[in-house]
């Protein structure tokens, strides 16, 4: 039952949740930060993209360090 039981099907797709994670954070951050809301949704979209790509990039760099650099150190 949704909202009561965990969504076990997401066990292998947990990393995809980075996108709604960034989107929700952006909704609150831009609601707090913007002086007016003429460009609210474009700003939220841009924030979502920036944070998603930033965290994914950090994950990629850390993965490369662990898999490629550290074994030879």
């Amino acid at each position: 039952m949704p909202f009561i039981e965990p969504w076990h099907a997401l066990q292998d797709l947990w990393w995809m949740m980075l996108i709604p994670f960034s989107f929700g954070t952006g909704m609150v951050y831009k609601a707090w930060r913007l002086p007016d809301f003429k460009r609210y949704w474009p700003e939220v979209g841009l924030f979502t993209m920036q944070v998603t790509l930033g965290i994914a990039g950090l994950g990629l760099v850390l993965g490369l360090i662990i898999d490629l650099v550290l074994p030879h150190a």
Binding site: P6, M17, G24, V28, A31
Partner: protein, 146 residues
Amino acid sequence: MLLAWLWPGGGYFAERRYARGIRAMSGVLFLYLFGLLIGGLDAVDRKHDGIWFYAQALNGPIAFVTDFARSRVSSINGQEIQDISWERSPSLGERWLAEDPEVMAVVQRQGLSHVNEVGTLFIALGGLMNLVLILEAGFASPRGKL
């Protein structure tokens, strides 16, 4: 500040800044409900994930209501499933092995691994974002007219 904690965006509503309040409320509730959708009620656990609950409690009373509901649906014979010692309760263990519907329903509601972690994180982050709104309601001068 109290209104801001009682309901996400409540501080803005008290200042009649409805456009900002609705957007802030929607964002915090989006994170909260998405966390519940991923992790189920078990994503909010005051007793067993105490440190996470400090952040989750910043969402307001909804976190305490969720924790109360979790403890009700995670109990067998009045005891939370995570507190049950299966060795000391062989009858319950036998019911689990026999796939007793009551026991299996409670087991199904427990989050494991990634879904539990991500659901817990979503709700904790919603609480931390709400902390920003609570602090603004208490200390900051209004930003813009909306």
